[in-house]
């Protein structure tokens, strides 16, 4: 069992983490390339100030709440606090970063990390419940949405159990191995599913660039929708 944990902690972690990093880098490159290739010179005249102000407003998206899914949006947003903070700044993980990349990150105190983890787990369960029980959200959800929620949930649950071995009905080794494997699965899924919004978020939110239409574009759209005679 120790050998398996060592394998998951060493080569498997390196493999999946590298796949994630390169995959995300690939998405960034493709995004930038496609924006530059499609828009070309028109990027210079784009209203950058407005675009960035718009994009920044999404970091705390209070203004963008839509009536009807308000609770869902709030839960989903607050869930992200734990999702970002705990994997990066948990004391046990800081040791890992230090070993691997030789960087010193500030540390979350263990009680804060515990509460954040529990809070995130609860949030994720609520999100899952919404997707199952709310008719509106159920009709918007695909199969992958449920699977991804579970995959994100797994490392948090197993991680919490590994930190508190006394509350853990299984052997520590088993839980730790599950924690590592589920994290590896998450790493691989990140660049190839909607979890890619880790980096694509920034590109989605500057979508104002994409909507700079060419002169006469409206006529073309109308033509392709309603036939030649249509005019805007």
């Amino acid at each position: 069992m120790e050998l398996w944990i060592d394998f998951a902690r060493g080569p498997l972690f390196a493999l999946t983490f590298l796949i994630m990093l390169l995959g995300l880098a690939r998405l960034i490159i493709i995004q930038i390339y496609s924006i530059v290739a499609r828009k070309g010179r028109r990027l210079i005249n784009a209203p950058w100030k407005k675009i960035f102000r718009e994009a920044l407003s999404w970091v705390i998206p209070v203004r963008h709440l839509i009536p009807g899914t308000k609770i869902f949006s709030i839960v989903s947003f607050s869930c992200h606090i734990g999702l970002i903070l705990v994997p990066l700044f948990l004391a046990n993980h800081i040791v890992l970063w230090e070993d691997l990349f030789d960087i010193n990150l500030p540390q979350l105190s263990s009680s804060v990390a515990d509460y954040l983890t529990l809070f995130t787990i609860v949030c994720l369960f609520i999100l899952f419940g919404f997707r199952v029980f709310s008719i509106r959200l159920r009709s918007m959800s695909r199969k992958s949405d449920y699977v991804i929620l579970i995959v994100v949930l797994l490392p948090f649950i197993t991680g919490y159990m590994a930190v508190h071995p006394k509350m853990n009905p299984f052997s520590w080794n088993v839980v730790m191995l599950l924690h590592l494997l589920s994290a590896a699965l998450l790493f691989i899924l990140i660049p190839f599913t909607k979890l890619a919004h880790i980096v694509l978020f920034f590109f989605d939110r500057i979508s104002a660039i994409h909507w700079q239409l060419r002169p006469g574009a409206g006529d073309q759209v109308a033509e392709s929708l309603y036939g030649k005679e249509a005019k805007v």
Binding site: G10, L18, N92, N168
Partner: protein, 645 residues
Amino acid sequence: MNNRVRVLKDIFWILSFSGLVAALLRMLFGLGATTNLTDGIPWGLWKVFNMIAGVALSTSGFTVGFLVYVLRLDRFKPYLKPAILIAFLGYGCSCLALLFDIGLPYRFWHPIFMWNINSFLFEVFWCVLLYFTVTAIELAPLIFEGLKAQKLVKFFHGIAFVVVIIGISLSSLHHSSLGSLFLVSPQRLYPLWYSPRLPLLFILSAMGGGIMLLVMVRIIWAKFYNPEPVFGPVSRQETTMIHDSRGLVCAVSSRKEPGFEMPDISRLALIGTGILLIYLLLKITDLVALGTWRELLSGQSESWLYGIELTFGLLLPLVLMLNPRTRNKPVPVGVAAGLAAFGMVFNRLNVGIFGYFRDAEVVYFPSLTEWALGLGVIAAAGLVFLGLAEYLPVFDDKPANAYLRKIKIKSTSTSHQVWNVVLADSLHRVSLLAVFVIPISFILMYPPYRGSEAALIKPSLGVDLQRSILEIDGDRRGYTTTFNHADHQRRLGDTGSCARCHHICVPKDKSTPCFRCHQYMHDSTNIFNHEEHKLFVARDEKLNGWHPENYACEKCHSVGTPRTKNSARDCLECHRENMFLVGEPTKEMKLMYASSFCLAMHENCLACHRQEAVKPEYAHLGECSTCHKTLQRKDREKIVTAEVM
């Protein structure tokens, strides 16, 4: 785009990416950690395959140049451009591979300023350097033509003749010198391959092999892009439609007559064959003259290797080419050319690597890193070749892009569709390959993950009952060190002196031998068994719960901090009595890792020896030969047999 070309490019990209990772790891970790090279076989895949064989394969640049510019055979003019491109890329990837093969790559420029005129390698270095420049100049018109800089094209065309002549003389110099490299070791190289005429053999086979490679590339190129000039036109009447089992319609066409370019290609191949024929005759004469043909019948592994080289690399292509029935058909000519090129490479491997196995008494097989870099460099050159030839008129009057057509999707398989249609954009496709190939090749080649390949250290060879003299040969390499245990014990103060060397013991043991903890020759060993400690602590402390060992963590690790070796209690808090530790433990002494056997022995013995060596009467204690008396294994055998006689 043509599907076959795309698959080929995918393979090339995969190899290049893994080569990139290999290059990075070699730079970070050095040759010892990444290659399987030893003192016995110091020239491995990169040197022999990439450098010596790679340079030899790119001779077509000067041979075709000789045919066109000196002999004025204008019919071979269309082959000049691909030949020069092959030469440029071949020399380029040889130099690149050599850069990673030399110990200190950042000193590659030293031979330019620090001349050692007695060395063959010095001459090879200069010739390769100059000839690489020459091929670059020869290639320049093609590139500038693509860039539409007509003045520069005219200039380079003007100096072409001079440059080609320089190229020919440089080539004839260094291809023979590459053979001379092996003249310095007549005792080491197996007699089948050693000959005083190696330089001549090398240059002849290189010329033949280079032309044959050009022929092979031309035919494969035709197969991929524009089959008509080589494989002949498709006659309309012969095309038939067949319904296969999946219900798809296939057009089966037959080509009866070879294309209009085939006679020229076959003439070029015949010139190569002629050179190879002279090479074969010379080789056989050499065997007879030196009397080494007996080795061929001895049934050793070397005679088999020589046999393979001779039959598949020389005789078979000669038969295919000299037979009038086959020498005008593209497929047999392509096969013959491929075999001849293979035979030439195999000859270089034989001379450079396999021929030394018997003398070095080791068998060398390249590590994954060596394969990745060796093939990756060639694959990258292949990509450059395809890229240049697709956008510039290399083989024909127009770039190959003109022959490429969009793939028509016939398959209904989803994965196939995704790969070919959704990822049709080369950026999407190549970057996706990189995302998977780079991490996988990284963890496969990362030296610390390769695990300790060294065997476990074994107990000393000869131990008598009193433990008076130990003959230590930890890794059983045949180099023993004699350690007079009783003598040391007596001199250091009889009983009670054990502790001066046996610094720590396995719990409840009194004199644990060194190799129990220092388990590898050059690697440290983890001597702390975490798994068992959890179970033992839970048992000793009588812990309860579903899994008692889950409650044991806090017995050693302090609460609230990450559970690492730094947050753990010192081992000696529990083990002070039963491990017989000597002296006060240092702060780093977490007793997790034992250093390598080599390091431990040297530290343990030398600490005392150095101290004593200061005294004039014990000056010899500071010398290596005081302990390492053993001669080489081979010489030992000789001494033993001499004593017996």
